[in-house]
């Protein structure tokens, strides 16, 4: 195998994701900002009167890192799911990609990098808005550590989205998958409350959820500047697992 073919497709696919996203960016941005801002107003303003602080930080500050992380992960999922759904079922671009001299993994990697960049831009936007209204104090020096945590999160959520988008021909299925799998993961992962508040019997399970690693780990990094290594390990484990699964599924679907 000539080295020249190696990873040739990654950049064009990532660029395509960004160009697609640039179309209708105003609507997309409004949609992206609306959800975390609504959560912040509903939970932050609504519950902060009852919950003064969590683990030594004000509830609104506790909530903010989770909402930024949620935005990034949901954007990664949305980009992967809708991007691949469009490419496979609507525009049939996958039929074009499979006659190009690129590897299947290039397409998945391009989607992941494109999804990560889109998610990062939107997450930054949400972070800037929330920091204006939230009493949060961010450990800026720990940002590289935060990216090292959310990048595998983006791999996981883009790959999960890609698997759904590649497998199901109806757009309704994408919304269903979000309701059935993603929403419970978000709520159980300590987005709105610390997982220490959960009943003892569920804690061992929740502790190994990738969303727990993302929300609890992200909160630790942004608010306190450090992370429990277990969270980083969990994120990378699920990222690699989902990448392998998405690549396998993608190859299967392309050979149909």
């Amino acid at each position: 195998m000539k080295l020249v073919y190696f990873r040739r497709g990654v950049f064009p696919i990532a660029q395509k994701v960004l160009l697609q996203e640039a179309q209708g960016w105003v609507n997309e941005t409004v949609n992206t900002v609306a959800i975390p801002l609504t959560f912040f107003l509903a939970f932050g303003l609504g519950l902060s009167g009852y919950i003064s602080n969590v683990g030594g930080v004000p509830y609104m500050a506790f909530l903010t890192p989770g909402l930024i992380t949620m935005t990034i992960l949901l954007e990664a999922y949305r980009t992967g799911a809708w991007g691949l759904w469009l490419d496979r079922w609507h525009q049939k671009m996958l039929d074009e990609y499979r006659i190009k001299p690129v590897h299947t993994t290039d397409i998945i990697m391009g989607e992941i990098i494109g999804g990560f960049l889109v998610a990062l831009v939107k997450g930054t936007l949400v972070a800037l808005i929330l920091m204006l209204v939230s009493p949060v104090s961010i450990h800026w020096a720990a940002l590289p550590l935060y990216f090292a945590l959310v990048f595998p999160g983006c791999i996981l959520f883009t790959c999960a989205g890609a698997m759904v988008g590649t497998s199901f021909p109806k757009p309704d299925n994408i919304a269903q998958s979000q309701t059935i799998f993603i929403t419970p993961l978000l709520y159980l992962g300590g987005l709105f409350f610390p997982i220490s508040a959960l009943p003892d019997w569920i804690k061992p399970i929740v502790g190994w959820l990738p969303t727990t690693a993302a929300f609890e780990g992200g909160r630790d990094v942004l608010l306190h500047g450090h992370i429990i290594p277990q969270y980083m390990a969990v994120m990378w484990f699920f990222a690699l697992l989902s990448f392998a699964a998405a690549t396998w599924l993608f190859k299967e679907k392309l050979s149909e």
């Binding site: 195998m1 000539k2 020249v4 073919y5 040739r8 497709g9 950049f11 064009p12 660029q15 395509k16 160009l19 697609q20 179309q23 469009l86 490419d87 525009q91 049939k92 671009m93 039929d95 074009e96 990609y97 499979r98 006659i99 190009k100 001299p101 690129v102 590897h103 050979s255």
Partner: protein
């Protein structure tokens, strides 16, 4: 080894005993059943056959999209299934349907293709510009594909297949659904390409195959029925010693009666054309002498057209010879 062999013999494509079986819920379908052929470099090779004959399956195998159930094929010496990435670098494809990213402009769609073929910006930009200018679409490079007509989309699809200057171009019914002028533009492009690119063409238009191709292969029920040049195929099914008398006036009926004593039931193809078989060519001068010089336009050997060849090969037509009259033994 195969690469060296093919290179030496000037063969661009070689297929040996290709078989493809589709297993569904019902009976398995044998789409290809031992197809073997070879294509010389820089030739236009047309694949004809009725719907379901296996043309698209064959093209999908040759373009590495699908694996054969058995058999082998090589593209410029690279084996399908084993060296797909190398093969994809050498081929360009215009599929039956035009698939583009509707969220990208024409230019962005073409640039995406070029980048996936490993072309650098300084190389692909002038190339795309040149090709778009050639088909007068450069001014519309920033339009989205959904604003283009079917003919324009097909032209962009052809450009996309040519950006990386493929050695082999696969065209799957490239002119289906196009108006005559758009069709002619595509034909001109294929004719221009002919001397530097091997073109594999599937079509339902016999005129297209006749006009463009160097060799033709007719498939039916997943098997090769005939292969050869258009001329060879026509001759193969044309009956021997069959003549056509072209008259300058619509007097075929009158001459049919007049010649009745020499030939049995000559066929009137139209009012100015009599077609008949002579078992003894010496009789031709006698027959011609019966026709007034003013009425005689020309006389020639009859030949089946490609459509008749196709219908006969596909088992859908009346054999050409069945239409013909023969000279009477008694008249000789």
């Amino acid at each position: 080894m195969q690469q060296q062999e093919q290179s030496a013999t000037g063969i661009a494509i070689e297929a040996r005993q290709l078989k493809k079986q589709f297993k569904g819920r019902g009976e398995p379908v044998q789409a290809l059943n031992g197809v073997s052929f070879s294509v010389q470099r820089e030739n236009v090779f047309a694949i004809l056959g009725p719907n379901g004959a296996g043309k698209t399956t064959l093209l999908r195998i040759l373009t590495t999209v699908m694996r054969p159930s058995s058999g082998q094929a090589w593209i410029e010496g690279f084996e399908i299934g084993r060296q797909n990435i190398q093969i994809r670098q050498l081929i360009g494809i215009v599929a039956q349907d035009n698939y583009f990213d509707r969220y990208l402009t024409v230019w962005q769609n073409l640039a995406l293709h070029a980048q996936m073929h490993g072309m650098e910006k300084p190389v692909y930009e002038p190339r795309i510009r040149e090709l778009l200018e050639k088909v007068e679409l450069y001014d519309r490079r920033n339009d989205f594909m959904e604003n283009f007509s079917g003919g324009m989309q097909r032209r962009v699809a052809l450009i996309r297949a040519l950006i990386h200057q493929p050695r082999i171009l696969f065209l799957d019914e490239p002119t289906t659904g196009l108006d005559p002028s758009a069709r002619r533009e595509i034909w001109e492009t294929i004719q221009e390409l002919k001397h530097r690119t091997t073109v594999i063409l599937t079509t339902h238009y016999m005129e297209e195959a006749d006009r463009l191709s160097d060799r033709i292969m007719i498939l039916n029920h997943g098997e090769v029925v005939m292969t050869g040049t258009a001329q060879e195929l026509k001759q193969r099914i044309s009956p021997p010693e069959t003549y056509e008398l072209f008259l300058s006036t619509p007097t075929a009926a009158a001459y049919r009666q007049k010649l009745a004593s020499w030939i049995r039931d000559p066929d009137i193809a139209d009012q100015s054309l009599l077609r008949f078989r002579l078992n003894h060519p010496d009789l031709l001068a006698t027959l011609v002498a019966q026709v007034a010089p003013a009425d005689l336009k020309s006389i020639g050997l009859a030949q089946a057209d490609l459509e008749t060849v196709y219908l006969t090969a596909a088992g859908q037509g009346v054999p050409f010879s069945g239409l013909l009259a023969e000279s009477k033994e008694a008249g000789v």
